[in-house]
């Protein structure tokens, strides 16, 4: 490898790095201060870059957030939707949502915490952030269909939908905050599924 190659790769590396550096710095600040109180300057201050450099990569902090989501969270919504279509009964339906959601929360805990703690802001600008928390309408539709097809019990769909979402979110949040182990996740999935299934059945 000669000198020129070295330099080229160094430059290229930098370019790719800077984008990641900004995203990483953004995630840190979003977590610390919340989305709406984070400024572009906060992000670049958390970096060695010059202020102008930010705008070589992003137009706004929102783009940073979207990029952070895109890098990790784009599929979870699709997965949740796909899985619940295949459910044959209440247990499967609930499990199909809880399992991947908790896995996501474990694997992308920072993103999960940001979204979970800033639902308001995320909803405000994000048309296409495909997270369970934001897909209540889609979930509700599938619940209505499930009820019609006798796969799910006949429970008020608004409540049905709300409890799945809030219980999953609440337990996941508790888990992540305590940075629990994989075993904890497994037991939490079990707890959560049992809880919701039994609760729904009883009403």
């Amino acid at each position: 490898m000669n000198k020129k190659d070295k330099k080229v790769s160094k430059r290229e590396e930098n370019k790719k790095n800077n984008r990641s550096i900004i995203i990483k710095a953004g995630i840190e600040i979003f977590l610390k201060k919340g989305i709406s109180q984070t400024t572009v300057r906060d992000i670049i201050r958390n970096t060695d870059l010059a202020s102008g450099t930010f705008y070589n990569y992003f137009k706004s902090k929102e783009e940073v957030l979207i990029a952070a989501l895109d890098e990790s969270a784009i599929e979870i919504g699709q997965e949740l939707r796909a899985r619940r279509k295949k459910a044959k009964n209440l247990e499967e339906f609930v499990y199909s949502q809880i399992r991947p959601f908790f896995d996501f929360a474990r694997d992308h805990s920072e993103i999960f915490m940001i979204m979970s703690s800033n639902l308001n802001d995320v909803q405000a600008f994000s048309v296409e952030t495909p997270m369970m928390t934001l897909e209540l309408e889609s979930l509700k539709e599938d619940i209505i269909i499930g009820i019609e097809e006798k796969i799910l019990p006949d429970v008020n769909p608004d409540y049905f939908c709300s409890v799945i979402q809030s219980v999953a979110e609440g337990i996941a949040f508790t888990l992540v905050r305590k940075s629990m182990s994989t075993e904890d996740i497994d037991s939490a999935v079990k707890f959560c599924t049992n809880f919701i299934v039994a609760g729904i059945r009883s009403v």
Copy 2:
């Protein structure tokens, strides 16, 4: 009564009310824009008062929010705590929390929506906002005691606590957003209590 008298009395009235006027204006803006994106200017703009007047009553928008909470929500936390102490079994325990919480959400729907939609911000600055949503630790302690005293089933207290909080919050939010009637509230309390009790029992 001549013109001048009229003005004077009006002004005096204002003097008494300016605090309330600011709080009211603040609540409106907090609801509309979210806490962290509300500025002091926003609040005074939503008022006939001069900007300086704001600082005769409050040091910051946060103080306005605290005042808004204090005016209506100070007792709910105490009530929740008091009631659950008296519970003799799981049903009573859950009901003791759900009933007043839903009543509060109905009677102070604006405050409830603000807090519910801005949990992050509220937590950030408020050491002393006595709402259910923020009293997980206290609730958890009582759950642990309840378990020890065999009043409550032996369920992981973190999960126990989390589901009460998240289910109540989620259903209440759904209710308020749809501005449902008193009857709806009653049925929601019933749904919620049954759901949680059955869920907890099953695990």
Copy 3:
């Protein structure tokens, strides 16, 4: 006059002054740098005021310019229009335009220089800056009417209009740049009128 009165008047005075101070500073910079290259910061730098103070009075540099015009130039367009309507022949028509235009250029030489040197920019934002230089269409219409009514000779109205405007502007500009005396103005008016009348007659 007691202490309080003194203070009040001082405050009021300041308030009025600051507006004028900004306008004055703006005119200076507009003259020096041209409109489009003047920044709001240039204007406040040319002042003892804080940057925020600017925005208590104006939204942009354009508003400063409009204010500068409004203070002195708002009537000149109307006057020119009114006077030419009364003209009974070519001499009167030309004189009716040249005389007030030159008076204006003398009495408001700074404004005149700014407008004259920044026609492009002025036209860009100003719907209602009623100066001769910007009222070609209105002037042309009156010329056409004048020709129809046999008051004016039958000359291409575009050219007719253009020569009045450009000769007046050119000579006025020359005058102002050399800051000539009142006598000079009188002789310039005479020169200008004779020149245009004779020129028009000959074609």
Copy 4:
């Protein structure tokens, strides 16, 4: 010729042309936005080139403008000067200026419009832009000489000079804006010459 060759030759072509490409792009933007509001970025954005490339050819947008003028307008000033030296009387003197000036305006209408619409900016930086509009001093000197030599009537040279310049500029501007035909140009030259000659004679 394979793909690579093609690219190479294209690139070489570009190398030769990049200067012209930038100038052309600059003229477009100067026309559209005015000189002072044009940025280097605007110019390179109007190009396929990289921003750094700009600085291989020019130090600033002003240099682009000068180059644009140099490419087309360098001779007009010299021509005007040369021609008026040969004039034997007033008619010839005026005609010697009007004719080439109008031809120039027709043949280089973009340059003419830029200069005509941005006189202020052009004057600001350009010591050596050889256009009639900017050569008043030289013209005035020749007028003074002409008067001394009894070739021209004894009229105030400032006014003499000003009317030639402003009338020519005004009529040419009108012409170009309406993109008139060659015949129009001829008749405009005649109008202009007659007008000035008669006007001057009368005073």
